[in-house]
């Protein structure tokens, strides 16, 4: 499995797991057929994962069926099983369409044939850094803020939440957008944010209604040294 820095994308080629549609070319492992030989890598590059899908936590498996034409390029494609995200499915198709092959041979002649591939879209293993890249004002809870037992269980992670501030600077709503892999940290995030004093934007010194993205970094080791000064607030360069 190849894992990208941002997220995991794996590929599983399938040759004949699903019956062919009537209108499609024969599968490439048909009797007497020499299978096409890939001339390009079928390993998805890290940047294949759509950034917006990563941001939204979209994952799943896309099963793509495609025709390798006698010319060696990819012809028709179809989504045989969706990942649940049209965006991921489209990215899978765009990836497959760039494949190049030495074509399949039948009776000494190049022929069209059909193959399938599964693109696995997985965000497991995505680093806190990639989540941090979403942006937002960072907050670093102390050990006292951790849910009971979480420190002993060595739980850590980052939770992204949107906070709606009222016109008096009070917190009206907290909307978790992207969680860590620990449910208790995710739950504790809402309570933690409610206890914080959050400075929202003002107009002529008067707080105004606003929505802020908050990044809560749960780390038993506390605020990282290189985060010094990283308040998420604007400052002059």
């Amino acid at each position: 499995m190849r894992r990208s820095a941002l997220a995991g994308i794996a590929v599983l080629p399938l040759l004949a797991a699903v019956p062919a549609k009537a209108a499609d070319a024969a599968f490439c492992n048909a009797p007497g057929m020499t299978q096409p030989m890939p001339l390009t890598s079928h390993a998805p590059p890290p940047e294949l994962y759509p950034p917006l899908s990563a941001m939204m936590g979209e994952s799943g498996n896309t099963l793509v069926r495609y025709t390798v034409l006698a010319s060696g390029i990819v012809g028709d494609t179809s989504i045989e099983r969706s990942s649940g995200s049209l965006r991921l499915d489209d990215a899978a198709v765009a990836f497959v369409k760039a494949f190049r092959f030495k074509p399949a041979m039948l009776d000494g002649k190049p022929v069209d044939c059909s193959r399938q591939i599964v693109i696995r879209w997985s965000l497991e293993g995505s680093s806190p850094l990639s989540m941090a890249q979403i942006g937002g004002t960072p907050f670093y809870p102390t050990l006292e803020d951790f849910p009971p037992g979480a420190v002993d269980r060595h739980e850590d992670g980052t939770v992204i939440a949107m906070v709606l501030l009222g016109d008096k600077g009070t917190i009206e709503t907290i909307l978790p957008m992207l969680g860590s892999k620990f449910a208790d940290l995710n739950s504790a995030t809402v309570d933690y944010i409610r206890k914080q004093k959050i400075a929202g934007p003002t107009v002529n010194g008067v707080p105004v209604r606003a929505a802020l993205v908050i990044r809560v970094v749960w780390s038993p080791t506390g605020r990282p040294a290189d985060a010094a000064g990283d308040t998420g607030q604007a400052h002059q360069p």
Binding site: E47, P51, L52, S53, M55, M56, R87, I134, V208, P237
Partner: protein
């Protein structure tokens, strides 16, 4: 997009090549960079908020391109939007990737650090070691946390015809029951896909045959590939939403009432009262140059603008609205483009506009108090003849264009040539209408940048000149200013030789007014200004110089343009030259077909304007 200064300079460039030589866009300039990849993904929620990723890769083609793309600035409004960079790097020609370090992504304030505007933020990304042939790549994540206009979504995407672009796609995913108005020019729409209550719309674009830019052409929006998307049913519904957002902003407070009463004390009639209030806002509220949209869409409250004594365009509009309301005069904000867009999208997107001005229904008047130098009832050229949305009544309309009946320049020049070839002279200029606005701005700018440089550019080296700025500070309909100048050895005496006409200071170029840059052909609609212009030059020669030949006096005409040149001698040493141009286009823009029809006549006019006086 540029702001007020940019707008003024552009007008001056169009009709006054003398004023700022060499700054005009050169046609046939090779593309500075090309778009290798532009993948935009948008996820719109039911409430109109959205997330957007952009994966952009540019290849640098020229040194200018390297200069342009070495740094990118991403602007956003804190509280409404968030922006982050998830990847940025330079890809060298040899394949080496140099990542942008975090220290090279600088957070800063946006267009203004003035109190009240500090929610405007920028991310400045500085790419390392950028050279011609390299690629720069950036991936950004943007969130519109709260829509600007209620539960709506609007965006527009423009791909300029002069930039090569490949692998361009825009993909929008939204709830399937969300209805979009789409204005698509030159982009290929793919069949929609629907899954799980969401529909994905995809458009693609490729421009492998870029058209070189043409001088004086209209905005890329009017002539290039574009995609405008909006959930608003029409401009009227958008205007209603916007009006609701501005409701209560123009409240007449006791301070505003008191000021309006004081300013209009003894002045009768709505028109005169409106004039006084408009002039006060124009001259007393400093203009913070922030393009509408970049600085949000909701103004500060009128009372705060009055207290601060500064504001952006929407602040100007809201204060003027309150002052007018204090005297019982209704007015409303008007959305307009203050650059070079002359068409209105069929998709009612707020982002087609970048400026807010005022409309007074009972006077049928549009007013732009941010123009600073615009007399009451006069719009600058870049506000004139433009499509607008009136926020108060939802009407789409067009502002009056600047025509030859309202826009004029009259210049009287008197020069004396000494026996040794020295020249001394005076030029007195009177302008009305839109030219008065821009000439006031020009003279103000000359004072800032230095008269010496300005006159050297306009008249050549060796000139010493002083500028009397005239009534620059008031908003009288006519603006008058003058220049006095002296040039040593301007002429080679004895001749034979020609008297170049730039021995006299001229505030504008007849050739630029009539023919622009006179390219061989045009393929794009272009801006063509209308104006009445005349110049009256008297030359006093020394006794040791004789006039050998005068240019031919003649009248040349073509569609929309009449040009008359008259050259006479009133005595052996006095020459009187007159140029009169009447340029009356029916619209603020002209078509390539029109240009093809009239170009031969324009060439003759330009040649006639180059004629000089032969002396010995």
């Amino acid at each position: 997009m540029g702001g007020r200064l940019h707008r003024l300079l552009w007008v001056l460039l169009v009709w006054g090549a003398i004023a700022l030589p060499g700054a005009a866009v050169a046609a046939d300039t090779p593309a500075a960079f090309e778009v290798v990849k532009s993948h935009i993904e948008i996820e719109v929620e039911a409430d109109g908020s959205y997330m957007e990723s952009r994966q952009l890769v540019f290849r640098i083609l020229t040194e200018q391109g390297a200069k342009t793309l070495r740094q990118m600035s991403l602007g956003y409004t804190q509280g409404y939007q968030s922006y982050s960079v998830s990847a940025a790097y330079t890809l060298k020609k040899d394949g080496t990737r140099i990542d942008v370090q975090n220290s090279s992504i600088l957070r800063g304030y946006g267009a203004s650090t003035s109190p009240g505007f500090q929610d405007l933020q920028t991310l400045n990304v500085v790419f390392p070691d950028v050279e011609v042939g390299d690629e720069v790549a950036i991936t950004t994540l943007f969130r519109q946390l709260r829509p600007w206009f209620g539960a709506s979504y609007s965006e527009e995407f423009i791909y300029s015809a002069d930039v090569p672009a490949h692998d361009v796609s825009i993909a929008l995913t939204a709830p399937s029951d969300m209805t979009f108005r789409i204005d698509n020019a030159q982009m290929t729409a793919e069949p929609d896909e629907t899954l799980g209550g969401k529909t994905r719309h995809v458009w693609r674009f490729d421009n492998s045959a870029p058209a070189p830019p043409e001088s004086e052409e209209v905005d890329a929006y009017d002539r290039s590939a574009r995609l405008v998307i909006s959930t608003f049913a029409d401009y009227r519904s958008f205007a209603q939403t916007y009006a609701g957002m501005l409701k209560d902003r123009a409240t007449v407070t006791p301070e505003i009432q008191q000021l309006a009463d004081k300013l209009t004390d003894g002045i009768r009639g709505d028109r005169e009262q409106a004039r006084v209030l408009y002039e006060w806002v124009s001259m007393h509220i400093a203009y913070v140059n922030i393009v509408l949209g970049a600085g949000g869409f909701v103004s500060h409250r009128a009372a705060d603008v009055l207290a601060n004594e500064y504001g952006d365009c929407k602040d100007h509009v809201i204060l003027l609205e309150a002052l007018l309301a204090a005297k019982g005069i209704d007015s409303m904000p008007v959305l307009i483009d203050a650059e070079r867009r002359f068409t209105m999208s069929s998709s009612p997107s707020p982002y087609a506009f970048n400026h807010l001005i005022t409309y007074v229904p009972e006077l049928h008047l549009y007013l732009d108090s941010t123009a600073r130098y615009a007399p009451f009832g006069v719009l600058p050229y870049l506000d004139a003849g433009k499509p607008v949305v009136r926020i108060g009544d939802g009407v789409t309309a067009r502002t009056p264009m600047a025509g030859a009946d309202t826009a004029s320049i009259h210049s009287v020049e008197n020069i004396t040539i000494a026996a040794n070839g020295d020249v001394e002279g005076d030029t007195r200029v009177t302008a009305t209408g839109a030219p008065a606005v821009d000439l006031r701005a020009l003279v103000e700018q000359v004072q800032t940048t230095g008269e010496v440089n300005y006159f050297h550019q306009a008249m050549g080296p060796g000139v010493e000149a002083t500028l009397d700025k005239g009534n620059i500070g008031d908003l009288a309909p006519a603006y008058k200013f003058s220049a006095h100048y002296r040039t040593t050895n301007a002429l080679n005496i004895p001749g034979p030789a020609m008297i170049p006409f730039n021995v006299a200071y001229k505030p504008f170029s007849f050739t630029a007014l009539i023919a622009g840059s006179l390219p061989p052909t045009r393929t794009q609609t272009f801006v063509c200004l209308s104006m009445a212009a005349d110049e009256d030059l008297t030359i006093h020669l020394p006794d040791n110089v004789k006039v050998m030949a005068l240019p031919k006096s003649e009248t040349l005409s073509t569609e929309d343009i009449d040009l008359t040149l008259t050259f006479t001698t009133t005595n052996p040493t006095t020459i009187h030259a007159q140029w009169t141009a009447h340029v009356a286009h029916p619209a603020p823009t002209c078509t390539p077909a029109y240009y093809a029809r009239v170009r031969a006549a324009l060439v003759k006019m330009a040649a006639a304007l180059r004629s000089e006086i032969l002396y010995q």
